[in-house]
Symmetry: C2
Subunit: 373 residues, 2 copies
């Protein structure tokens, strides 16, 4: 814990703060970019995890020129910071037509549709050309046209093709059910099924004369685990930039790839129950959890700093409960004795996208402050 305290106190923080290891982030980006390159697919990373213009710039060195976001707010932010090819990977919220018309006049904006209603509003109110992806449901059952609902596909694609301001780009899916997989084999199976279903839909379109149709896929578990992307034109993974405990549990990453942690001051120690209490609660970590082998809900695990990077996941130091500003950590005798009130401890988050969303800035272990949206 000595190095953790020394660093955190030297950078002048005194309350829960989001810490990032830039070297790990760069290594995570490099690995995913190389894999995309080796497979000959476009790498259009999702920026909803980091939501930072500065971290976005780190991707440019790896040849990234096109990005994915999940809201028009994020698209506006990254457009302001020099990104000119952006896909909003969320069914288009046509209530935001002002933002859509503003952006589509300035950048290559790509939107998602899965219904006639949305297409109809776009047709009536668009002022500039946009790229259009049809969202396909390959088994996650959140949004999208079912992959084998060829009638709907036919009618949507015809409507897009007949519209002067809509450029049909292809079929896009998010195999989010990979997050519920119990093994690496199950993740590989989901990926295989996803690609096969996407290709069926593409074949159908070919049969009705639509020959130009890209395939875009993109969840972090499958993009991390599978070796290649045969049949795919574009991958959109995002969480891989930081990873988190949920991904580590799934097998998408190793603990050495976890690139963010939350630094929390210790405010109390309770010997009768071997617990330490952190200034660090649901508003600092989010209340996402993973189950442990005893069926408990775990909201994070402690780690520490070793040679200016994050150490192992300390499995015998789980965050076992969270309230608004408090986190309760169960520790063994050794750790209990080692940690003092007013020390800092580091917590690996369960779901880094939700945790990072709670902060205005990152502190890197390299000593920089990096701002967010």
């Amino acid at each position: 814990m000595y190095e953790t305290n020394k660093l955190l106190k030297s950078i002048g923080i005194s309350k829960p703060s989001l810490l990032l290891d830039k070297n790990r982030v760069l290594s995570n980006i490099e690995k995913m970019a190389s894999k995309a390159k080796a497979s000959g697919v476009r790498f259009r990373p999702h920026f909803k995890t980091h939501q930072s213009a500065e971290i976005g710039n780190w991707f440019r060195d790896f040849g990234v020129t096109a990005i994915t976001v999940s809201s028009l707010d994020m698209a506006m932010y990254f457009a302001k910071h020099g990104w000119s090819d952006i896909t909003v990977a969320f069914i288009t919220n046509v209530l935001e037509m002002n933002e859509i018309n503003d952006l589509s006049g300035r950048i290559k904006l790509n939107l998602l549709v899965d219904s006639e209603q949305v297409l109809s509003t776009l047709n009536q109110q668009l002022k500039c050309r946009v790229g259009i992806w049809i969202k396909i449901d390959t088994g996650y059952h959140r949004t999208g046209v079912l992959w084998d609902d060829f009638d709907s596909l036919n009618s949507l694609v015809k409507r897009i093709k007949s519209s002067p301001l809509l450029d049909f780009r292809g079929l896009l899916t998010h195999a989010g059910h990979s997050y519920r997989a119990k093994s690496l084999d199950e993740i590989r199976k989901i990926h295989k099924e996803t690609i096969s279903r996407m290709l069926s839909a593409k074949d159908y379109l070919k049969d009705i004369g639509i020959v130009t149709c890209e395939i875009s896929v993109g969840d972090t578990p499958t993009c991390s685990i599978v070796g290649d992307f045969v049949g795919v034109d574009e991958i959109r993974s995002g969480n891989f930039v930081f990873y988190d405990l949920m991904q580590e549990k799934l097998g998408s990453c190793t603990e050495n790839e976890l690139a963010v942690a939350v630094a929390c001051p210790v405010v109390g120690k309770y010997k009768d129950r071997n617990q330490i209490v952190l200034y660090g609660g649901a508003v600092h970590l989010s209340n996402a959890y993973i189950p442990d082998e005893y069926g408990r809900q775990i909201f994070g695990y402690l780690t520490n700093l070793q040679n200016r990077t994050f150490g192992s996941i300390i499995k015998n130091a789980p965050v076992i409960s969270l309230t608004q500003e408090h986190g309760v950590v169960s520790v063994d005798d050794e750790l209990f004795n080692e940690i003092d009130v007013a020390d800092f401890v580091l917590v690996f988050p369960v779901h880094s996208c939700l945790t990072c969303n709670l902060y205005k800035e990152y502190h890197s272990v390299q000593g920089e402050i990096i701002s967010r949206l």
Copy 2:
């Protein structure tokens, strides 16, 4: 749904937004303030739920002059907005001594301690007088000195009494285990036990010669349900200002007292599974949940606007899953047909403190915009 859409579109919002009914808020404040007055206890409401200077001002009309917050950041914010008697109801984070010394020179600042370490740092580094409460653990087992650990109590109180800058105020507890109660009777039982344990500790202090010692309690479930506060000097409830689905389930409030809801645009409808998908996810609602009678995790229930206030909890329209920006709502045939893509729906949050924390402002159904910390 007609009134909901009409109002929300008239106030010019186009994405997930936090909505508040000012009349309900005022009524909730009035009820709690009257109950405190009738019991002859000081009402020191917790402002961590709303975190808004403007909403804070609404309390002044009900005679409130002293408040509770859960962080030094909030204390700084409310001090800037004219509050001069503030208790930070969180074990003191001594890493923030700069903030403590700044505030204690300007306002009546009250801090919590439960350990020698924190007292020791305060003694060494404080520059002005502060009020000190000893945090007591009456059964919640988060922080605090165990109510019957008289040795620790003795040693802490003696140290406070001997210190020139520390004014001993009394014993403070948070019976947070009331949130896990299964019935109103169990909540009443917890309250009774809490008061009895606090009075035991107070009696002990009297025996060792400490005659001035206040008792402060404060969770919303017990403060909402019990009829009086015999033996208590101060109540600190906070969530009651808005309440939420968790409180309604506990029986702390009725559905007519729910004072906030999140307005979310509908982006998709999926007839094969009778689900609608909202632009409104974990970053707009928080991923707090309550179980329903089928054991499902419920992240919110729809409601609507009727005569400019919130309607009933629509129990057959639960939010059954949340991801970063998506919410999936299961609806019956009638509601499915009634709701269209690009409509707004309203979602009652499970835990309003966490939901409100995700927004920079409230929109009142009365047409105002109210800013937050």
